[in-house]
């Protein structure tokens, strides 16, 4: 089994990385945070739609690029690295492929791929990006509802770009037939990829910071206590990466190992990103505890995603059950 990133995945993720470096700097993420996940985030979503990022998993005929989940995972990792203030995990890896595999029953797929229409995804009844969505995919066996078929109740999130709401269906909705692997696996694999990128983004910033910040006449990165913590974080992120690509590959190949692979990826990526967040916060001298420093944007996204699509513990229990332990 070869699940390493192929040329397609490397090229499209490099294109997204270069786009986000220029168009999604920390100032934009902060502005989107202040605007509750709207304003500049909306412009970013439109550009990503035009680039073909949102619809990358839709077939070529349906406004997509027909790319693999491995490529999507690589792209989500870059979105995480930049802390892109949009529910890309849900749009790219859940809404678009679920609609596509169910034959696009309401004919909205192309519009979703271009960000002319948004579908919010609520596997457990809570949807990020809720206030701008015209459609909702609700439940672990997803049912598609129009906006006027659900009741929304706003939920505060520590990450204000999340724009969360509880979704209560009040109509029959449309059951998505023939949609392939479930929301749990798709969500877990995609969130794991985003978390991996968030971790990498925090580590990059922290390494740059400790090389620059002087104390006792030298950069704090020269102290072993700092170096070791960051080396530990790198180790966790490097260990989490292969399971993330493997879970994406398991989705691409409809592998019987998918449930275990997806849970392994999410458990390891959640742990790695959360540990990196702690190390990053400490190495920044606790800057990032407040919203005066951009690190907080990465920390909060990490906390939210680590708790979404199944916590590390929940996924470890699932692996144990699969192994009949």
């Amino acid at each position: 089994m070869r699940f390493a990133l192929d040329d397609d995945a490397l090229e499209v993720s490099a294109a997204v990385a270069s786009f986000l470096t220029k168009e999604c700097p920390p100032e934009l993420v902060q502005a989107a945070f202040n605007a509750g996940g709207q304003g500049p985030a909306d412009d970013l979503a439109r550009s990503l739609g035009e680039m073909g990022v949102l619809g990358m998993l839709a077939p070529a005929g349906a406004g997509g690029a027909g790319l693999s989940m491995v490529a999507a995972a690589a792209v989500l990792a870059e979105a995480g690295r930049a802390a892109a203030p949009l529910p890309l995990t849900e749009t790219i890896a859940l809404a678009v492929p679920l609609l596509a595999s169910a034959g696009d029953p309401t004919g909205i797929l192309e519009r979703v791929a271009l960000d002319d229409e948004r579908v919010a995804v609520a596997p457990c009844g809570v949807a990020p990006g809720a206030s701008r969505a015209g459609w909702f995919l609700v439940g672990p066996d997803p049912v598609l509802y129009r906006r006027d078929e659900v009741t929304l109740e706003r939920l505060d999130s520590v990450d204000r770009t999340r724009d969360l709401a509880t979704v209560t269906p009040a109509g029959p909705g449309i059951v998505l037939e023939g949609r392939g692997p479930g929301m749990v696996e798709r969500g877990a694999a995609a969130a794991a990829a985003t978390l991996l990128g968030l971790g990498r983004g925090m580590l990059d910033q922290t390494v740059a910071y400790v090389k620059d910040r002087q104390q006792f006449g030298r950069p704090i990165g020269s102290f072993q206590a700092v170096k070791h913590r960051l080396a530990d974080a790198l180790l966790l992120l490097e260990l989490a990466a292969p399971p993330v690509w493997a879970a994406a590959h398991a989705l691409d190949t409809a592998s019987p190992d998918l449930p275990r692979a997806a849970s392994l990826a999410k458990a390891m990526a959640s742990d790695a990103a959360t540990a990196t967040a702690r190390a990053a916060l400490q190495a920044h001298g606790a800057m990032g505890y407040t919203d005066q420093h951009p690190l907080h944007l990465w920390l909060k996204r990490t906390w939210c995603l680590a708790a979404s699509h199944g916590t590390a513990r929940w996924h470890r229990d699932r692996i144990a059950a699969a192994l009949q332990l």
Binding site: D8, E11, V12, A15, S18, F19, S47, E50, M51, G52, V53, M56, A60, A65, G66, L67
Partner: protein
């Protein structure tokens, strides 16, 4: 209308560049990328072809080791095809040899217009494009900040120190564009996937009717004798404000005759 864009594939400027110890030429061993300054030319060419309502954009590049990574980026933006000249005999070429090679490759594409950047981000000679035009016997306009094509002529707003000159020449011609002439598009995923199937014609020096002795180190009329590090910028003067900071600022501005 057919447009050729000269694109250079260069070592990633994010990494520190290296020179060979003997010939002082740029080391180009690793993966090469599209020179950022060429993205403006590619975008300009795509817009001109669009405006003309037909034709295509062809890339012409000279690079070692059959390198196509940078070409793929420009093909993903929308260029139709590429001509790559890659030959060991080209190592150590000076600007004029490079111009002869590019001119010969450009002729094959029979363009109405050639676009290049004003200079490359690695070599910075800034002389190759006009030499290409001279070898082709075509007129050239450098430093374009606005380009329009109509009725067999190209009209250019040419950047000057004080403003711009309006210049018009008949086609075929060569124009070098500044960064900012247009905003380059990001390659779309469809473009990236389509670029894989676009033709890249790879040529050797002899395919272009040139002799290996005319190009590369053998044909170079220019030699880099030595290389010195640029003089470090002097540190600024730090003035401690003891309530009279504004007076010192005024004095400084008077000294440099700003006020």
């Amino acid at each position: 209308m057919n447009v050729v864009v000269c694109v250079k594939q260069i070592p990633d400027p994010a990494n520190p560049g290296k020179l060979t110890s003997e010939t002082h030429t740029i080391v180009r061993d690793g993966k090469l990328i599209l020179d950022d300054s060429d993205a403006y030319g590619v975008e300009m060419a795509l817009q001109l072809v669009d405006a003309a309502g037909g034709g295509e954009v062809t890339l012409v590049s000279m690079a070692p080791h059959s390198e196509t990574s940078g070409l793929r980026t420009a093909l993903a933006m929308g260029a139709a095809k590429a001509i790559l000249v890659s030959d060991d005999a080209l190592a150590g070429s000076d600007a004029l040899s490079t111009a002869k090679v590019l001119a010969a490759a450009i002729k094959r594409a029979e363009p109405d217009l050639v676009i290049a950047a004003t200079e490359s981000t690695d070599g910075y000679t800034g002389t190759t494009p006009v030499q290409v035009a001279e070898v082709l016997g075509w007129p050239s306009i450098s430093f374009a900040k606005k380009v329009a094509v109509a009725d067999g002529t190209v009209k250019v707003d040419r950047q000057t120190e004080t403003g711009y000159d309006s210049v018009e020449v008949s086609l075929p011609a060569l124009v070098t564009v500044t960064a900012g002439v247009v905003e380059p598009r990001y390659p779309s995923f469809k473009g990236i996937m389509a670029a894989k199937g676009k033709p890249v014609e790879e040529l050797k020096v002899t395919d272009l009717g040139l002799e290996p002795g005319q190009v590369g180190a053998a044909g170079a009329r220019q030699e880099v004798v030595s290389v010195e590090p640029a003089e470090a910028r002097k540190a600024g003067e730090i003035v401690v404000d003891e309530g009279d900071g504004y007076e010192k600022i005024v004095a400084f501005l008077e000294q440099i005759k700003v006020i």
